[in-house]
């Protein structure tokens, strides 16, 4: 399994990288961690040029502001999963990322790579969607920002235009009481792609007894990661008790919003069945957590 030759560039800055990409055109592939790209090249993918982004220090790490955290596209999964502040402030995201691949993969693979691959089942995507994240794209014409939901356009397809790079992800920070939960269905206990992933994020008003917002991000259940907007709408603004009573209805609505497929890893019908169970479990867990109960020891 040898890789075919290619032209190699290692720019030292974002500006230089963008210059090289626009000069080389569609033949050039950006290389971040490479944990998806290199195996594909071993199986015959032959990009003419690789532009390694590993020297772009400005695209690495987290910046905490009052209302949001900005995550550089080249931040390693291991650095996100192990970040204490992320664990405590956005546990739904830290948890989901800790379940990506193996430790070895998380030490190499980047958040930006996970998103740009645009797998419908990407573990980071559902939680980021539920948190209302947006992405910043950098290109020859400057920067543009868009909601993550618009970034994903289909399996393996994003809104990135030739010459553009994903620069960072902006995640709004919840204020007041909040709770999150990520449930991932795998065929084994670890190191597997998600058959499906359910992310639930909710925040309560100051009294802690009424939902201010609740959002559901789903992976592996549609051609792109999606939000279950109809289910969210019936729960918004309810007291925690009312939300519990409306839970079955919310799960029904969410199940009407998904369109899972049969593939080598699971059937659509199995995904549909487990999605129902995980949605109920995820919603219950988040309501329990908001009410100060630990939520069945789930993550």
């Amino acid at each position: 399994m040898r890789i075919s030759g290619f032209e190699y560039h290692a720019p030292a800055s974002l500006d230089e990288a963008l210059g090289i990409l626009s000069h080389l055109g569609p033949e050039a592939r950006p290389l971040a961690g490479g944990t998806d790209l290199i195996p594909q090249m071993k199986h015959g993918l032959r990009p003419g040029c690789l532009v390694w982004l590993g020297n772009l220090a400005e695209l690495k790490g987290l910046t905490w502001n009052r209302d949001e955290v900005r995550i550089g596209a080249l931040t390693l999964h291991a650095d996100l999963a192990g970040d204490r502040e992320l664990q405590s402030r956005l546990p739904v995201l830290a948890r989901a990322i800790s379940l990506i691949g193996s430790w070895q993969i998380r030490n190499t693979a980047t958040l930006g790579g996970n998103l740009c691959n645009a797998s419908p089942a990407a573990d980071s995507a559902g939680p980021l969607m539920a948190l209302g994240s947006s992405v910043v794209l950098a290109g020859p014409g400057g920067e543009e920002e868009m909601p993550l939901g618009l970034f994903f356009q289909g399996p393996g397809e994003t809104a990135l235009r030739p010459g553009q790079l994903l620069k960072e992800v902006k995640v709004p920070l919840p204020h007041g009481p909040s709770a999150g939960c990520y449930l991932k269905l795998m065929r084994k206990k670890a190191v597997d792609l998600a058959l499906l992933g359910v992310a639930v994020q909710a925040s309560a008003d100051e009294s802690g007894s009424r939902l201010r917002s609740l959002s559901i991000g789903l992976g592996g259940l549609a051609p792109t990661p999606i939000r279950a907007g109809k289910a969210e709408a019936v729960l918004a603004g309810l007291s925690l008790d009312q939300a519990r009573k409306a839970l079955d209805q919310a799960v029904d609505l969410a199940c009407g919003e998904i369109s899972p497929i049969d593939d080598v890893r699971a059937t659509a019908s199995y995904r549909r069945t487990v999605a129902r169970v995980y949605l109920g479990r995820g919603l219950n867990t988040v309501l329990d957590r908001l009410a100060g109960k630990e939520g069945e020891g789930l993550s």
């Binding site: 290692a10 963008l18 193996s102």
Partner: protein, 171 residues
């Protein structure tokens, strides 16, 4: 600098790779398409890291990059430019095996041995991060290293025993 010519490559070009392997600075001319595993084995003759699946799933090729376990079969060597790499060959000190190596022998955590270098290096990175992990934490961290012989129990025992040994400060 917005000038692509500044880092313009040559056709089928070679690049100079400078890395530190097991504490020794190395300078090699390589092709950008070579993986770190190929450079370690074919370029430096370090045969400890193995190619199992070749696609980052089995962990037999695990080495430490800046102290962190990675799959060297799916990492281009140029991605390790300037970095510090540790292979299994770098663990023994003064002719004495590392406590993890000794524990793997003592506990029968080795059968065919193909997974062992990767297994030990991942375990070492874990113990460097947390000198006192429980069995679950060990299993979790070793989940990217497959073993088809031992059934894993003895491997977890060996890591626990090495952790104990290392806490005693005897090595």
């Amino acid at each position: 600098m917005n000038n692509p010519a500044a880092s313009a490559p040559q056709e089928r070009h070679r690049v100079v790779l400078e890395i530190t392997v097991n504490g020794r600075p190395e300078r090699l001319e390589i092709e950008p398409r070579q993986t770190l595993l190929e450079v370690l084995r074919d370029g430096l003759g370090l045969m400890g890291a193995k190619e199992g699946c070749g696609s980052g799933k089995c962990g037999a090729c695990t080495v430490l990059l800046e102290g962190r376990p990675i799959n060297s079969c799916i990492l281009l060597a140029v991605q390790a430019q300037g970095a510090e790499v540790t292979t299994i060959e770098g663990l023994a000190k003064n002719g004495r095996p590392h406590p993890l190596q000794q524990a793997f022998v003592d506990k029968g955590a080795i059968q065919c041995g193909f997974c062992t270098p990767g297994m030990i290096l991942t375990a070492k990175a874990l113990l460097d991060k947390n000198p006192d992990p429980g069995p679950e934490e060990i299993e979790e961290h070793l989940s990217g290293n497959l073993c088809r012989c031992t059934g894993y129990s003895k491997i977890v025992e060996a890591v626990l025993s090495a952790a104990e040994e290392m806490k005693g400060g005897r090595s």
